[in-house]
């Protein structure tokens, strides 16, 4: 009976929202969004500060943000305050999980991992780590960035701990790494405030677009975000592996 009612309710809601979404003049139809009438037009042309120059890969120098990947330009440049907030969200959830699990070092007993897993993980692990680091460092050039690279490093850690069970207890430094990278991220922001006048402001020399050392502080910021996300995810995974301290 409850299921039927819920289904009925959601069906009417679906019908209503779809009719409203399709034939109202607010949302452009699917596929016809014009970038021109939105803020992201300046994000792409990177002329928020005013001077408008056409951007060619490899030539234009000292753009506002100077990152080839427009999304990284937004995430770590124009709206990096959001990213700071988001990193705190991850930080608190990792902290919350460790608070709830309590300080216990009794780990869940798990059966010995299979032969294929042990050998296979040894082969895959280096590839995973290299690709992860690559994605973090090339955040401003190719798709991806700190969060995606951090997740890959964490999955490498997970693979490692699945294969041999003594690995995870040995790691103590993650909490420190987490705190360190978060602090540096805010220090970059404060330095930006003192030097350039506004919190989290990028430096002027953003190099030529498309090169590795371009887009000013953004790769540095993304590097620390990658480390932070990697350590936090691993921390969460290790907490879930612990047994509840029977307090």
């Amino acid at each position: 009976m409850k299921k039927v009612l819920a289904l009925l309710l959601l069906a009417t809601l679906a019908f209503m929202t779809i009719t409203l979404v399709v034939d109202n003049n607010l949302l452009p139809d699917f596929g016809e969004t014009k970038v021109e009438n939105s803020v992201s037009d300046t994000y792409i042309k990177q002329n928020a500060m005013g001077e408008n120059q056409d951007i060619k890969f490899g030539e234009t120098k000292n753009l506002e943000i100077g990152s080839a990947n427009a999304i990284t330009g937004i995430v770590a440049g124009y709206r990096s305050f959001d990213t700071l907030g988001e990193v705190t969200v991850l930080f608190i959830s990792a902290l919350g999980v460790s608070l709830m699990i309590g300080t216990t070092d009794s780990w869940m007993k798990r059966s010995q991992s299979g032969f294929i897993l042990r050998v296979g993980s040894k082969a895959i692990l280096p590839i995973l780590m290299i690709v992860g680091v690559y994605i973090i460092t090339h955040g401003h050039l190719s798709p991806g960035g700190g969060f995606q690279g951090g997740a890959m490093i964490a999955s490498a850690m997970l693979l490692l701990s699945l294969s041999d069970h003594e690995f995870m207890p040995k790691i103590k430094a993650f909490k420190m790494l987490e705190g360190l990278s978060g602090t540096i991220y805010i220090l970059i922001g404060l330095v930006g405030m003192i030097l350039m006048g506004h919190f989290l402001q990028n430096i002027d020399q953003t190099g030529t677009i498309g090169e590795l050392f371009s887009a000013g502080l953004i790769p540095v910021v993304y590097l620390f975000i990658g480390l932070k996300v990697g350590s936090e995810l691993t921390g969460i995974i290790s907490d879930f592996m612990k047994k509840e301290a029977n307090i």
Binding site: L9, L10, T12, L13, M16, L20
Partner: protein, 607 residues
């Protein structure tokens, strides 16, 4: 010596009482006496500054005749009852806050009478409400204070609604200008009138709102009940005056339906007053606890006062105001005597007492005189005021209201006589053998009050002069007095001559009493009936349910308190529904509600 100095004395006195009585309780009690009596005396000092205005912070005050008269009545009752605090000082849980709240409630009521604008009026009104709401639980019951607060907050919120409505209409907060310049057509102004007067009705204890009176007076601390029934009930009369005299009610309702010259809304209120007289009298007869009995008598007398003030003609209005004074003094004295008895015996239950006359003769005489005035028997002040009210009602030809007034007077003989016969007369119970008379500090106020009742009864001109000024200020025809005698529409009342005749009659009765042979008094407790041993002699004591046959007439009468309880239960059920429907700890319910709201709005939006 002006308005602000009196209020300053009271407010500062209240705080000082709190600190002093923390040091030692006696000091705190004495400060209560000093401050209240000082304020009573200072009132006479500023009698000549009528019309002077003062401002402090954002409160502004103005001394008016009516304000002065009410302040005079209240500070008299407060001053007299303050004497009891000395003897009752270590009978409270919080003696220091009792002293402070006691004085602050007087400060609040005086500030209320002198208020020039509505904000000051409402601030001091609420000050009185919550100070008394925190004194009542010091007595026997916490529930009484809760019901008291709820009923009086119904009234004060209604008046706040009317005040803000007037502010919207006239744009000014000054009481006089605002009430004068209200121009609404008939029915909205009726709503405005009813909501404004509501707080007065709840305070006087008129029919639907009389529920808190017996509970609060009955279970308030013994020294605060006289204030409650003598003083605080009169605040409602001030609001009634404002809404009838200052608010041009007779002109505005003039063209509506009239009954013998009284407009419809005012006549409706007078009917309510009449009903509360009947209810008060009938319920008072039934009570076994003396304090509850007197509380119900305040309900009845509140009805008289309201009818008097609402009539707004020279006879009944003067009678109403005089009755206000007479009832304040008489009921305060009656409560004081009951408190004195309770101080000695520890109980106010009529059936447990008896024969107090042998041990406490002075308290007995004081009680006798106060109930004579309350019942409206000639030589006392109560008679003059009730007589004026009845004259006015008869002259205007209001049959129903006059019937209720007569019924109330006759009924009052019955209920005042019950404590007299059961508590003071009759046999002294063995356990009260070694009882002493009430202490000196209690006797002083009792005797003073009886003297006042007697003198006003004999020479009503003393108080009527004040009332005449009030009538002049309110623009009503002034009650005419030729040489101490009040002219009424069919003749005149010369109170002093009436007193002389009564005095002469009293003398004859006294002589006869002394000459007649003495009766042999038999101790009640050694009753013996046909070899049957009585195990519970007090059941046969005639004080035990005194008016049983009369009470059987209306044994299962409907009680308004049940009505209030049922309403409160209904509200609680709604609260329970909210708890059940929204608050269970399943995410599904809240999400269901969110989706229902979103669906309804989207459907609404689509069309």
């Amino acid at each position: 010596m002006n308005l602000l100095s009196i209020l300053a004395v009271l407010i500062v006195g209240g705080l000082a009482a709190y600190l002093l009585s923390k040091a030692n309780k006696l000091l705190g009690a004495i400060t209560t006496i000093l401050t209240t009596v000082l304020s009573f005396v200072m009132l006479f000092g500023i009698k000549d500054q009528i019309g002077s205005t003062e401002t402090f912070l954002y409160f502004n005050f103005q001394l008016t005749e009516i304000g002065w008269y009410f302040a005079f009545v209240l500070s008299l009752t407060y001053g007299m009852s303050a004497f009891y605090n000395v003897c009752y000082k270590d009978k409270f849980m919080y003696p220091n806050s009792y002293a402070m709240l006691y004085i602050l409630s007087l400060g609040g009521s005086l500030g209320l009478f002198f208020a020039k604008d509505f904000i000051t009026f409402f601030v001091f009104w609420e000050l009185v409400v919550w100070t008394s709401a925190f004194i009542i639980p010091l007595g026997k019951s916490r529930r009484a204070s809760f019901i008291y607060y709820v009923v009086s907050s119904i009234g004060s919120m209604a008046t706040l609604f009317a005040i803000m409505w007037i502010y919207k209409l006239t744009g000014t907060m000054m009481i006089k200008e605002a009430l004068m310049s209200v121009d609404l057509n008939f029915w909205p102004s009726v709503i405005l009138f009813m909501t404004f007067i509501l707080s007065g009705l709840t305070k006087i204890g008129i029919f639907p709102f009389h529920v808190w009176l017996p509970l609060a007076h009955g279970s308030a601390p013994h020294t605060f009940s006289p204030i409650l029934s003598g003083g605080l009930v009169k605040l409602g009369a001030y609001v009634a005056y404002l809404s009838v005299a200052v608010f041009p009610s007779y002109e505005i309702f003039g063209e509506g339906w009239m009954y013998r010259g009284i407009p419809l809304p005012i006549y409706f209120l007078m009917v309510l007053g009449a009903i509360s007289i009947i209810i008060g009298t009938v319920m008072a007869i039934k009570q076994d606890d003396a304090k509850k009995l007197l509380a119900f008598s305040s309900v009845a007398n509140g009805g008289y006062i309201l009818i008097g003030i609402l009539m707004m003609d020279e006879i009944t209005f003067a009678g109403g105001l005089l009755h206000l004074f007479a009832h304040a003094v008489a009921s305060a004295t009656a409560f004081l005597t009951i408190t004195a008895v309770a101080y000695r015996t520890g109980t106010t239950k009529i059936s447990e007492l008896g024969g107090m006359i042998h041990r406490m003769p002075i308290t007995y005489t004081v009680y006798l005189i106060s109930i004579i005035s309350m019942a409206g028997i000639p030589p006392m002040a109560g008679f003059v005021s009730k007589w004026l009210i009845l004259q006015g009602l008869a002259s205007k030809g209001l049959i129903i209201i006059a019937f209720a007034a007569f019924f109330g007077s006759i009924g009052s003989f019955m209920y005042v006589f019950r404590p007299l016969a059961a508590v003071f007369l009759g046999q002294l119970a063995p356990k009260h053998e070694n009882l002493k008379e009430a202490p000196i500090m209690m006797l002083i106020p009792m005797i003073l009050m009886t003297i006042i009742t007697l003198t006003v009864g004999v020479v009503p001109k003393l108080v009527l002069n004040f009332i005449v000024d009030v009538q002049a200020e309110a623009g009503i025809k002034v009650v005419s007095m030729t040489g101490g005698a009040l002219d009424v529409f069919n003749g005149y009342l010369d109170a002093t001559r009436v007193f002389v005749i009564f005095g002469f009659g009293f003398l004859i009765a006294l002589v006869l009493f002394l000459l007649m042979p003495k009766t042999r008094s038999v101790s009640l407790m050694d009753t013996y009936t046909s070899a049957e041993f009585i195990y519970t002699p007090e059941l046969l004591h005639y004080a035990h349910d005194f008016y049983a046959p009369f009470e059987r007439l209306y044994k299962n009468h409907p009680s308004t308190l049940k009505l209030y309880e049922r309403a409160s239960l209904k509200l609680k059920e709604i609260g329970l529904f909210v708890d059940y429907a929204f608050m269970n700890q399943r995410p599904a319910t809240s999400i269901m509600w969110i989706l229902i709201i979103v669906t309804i709005v989207t459907i609404g939006g689509a069309f």
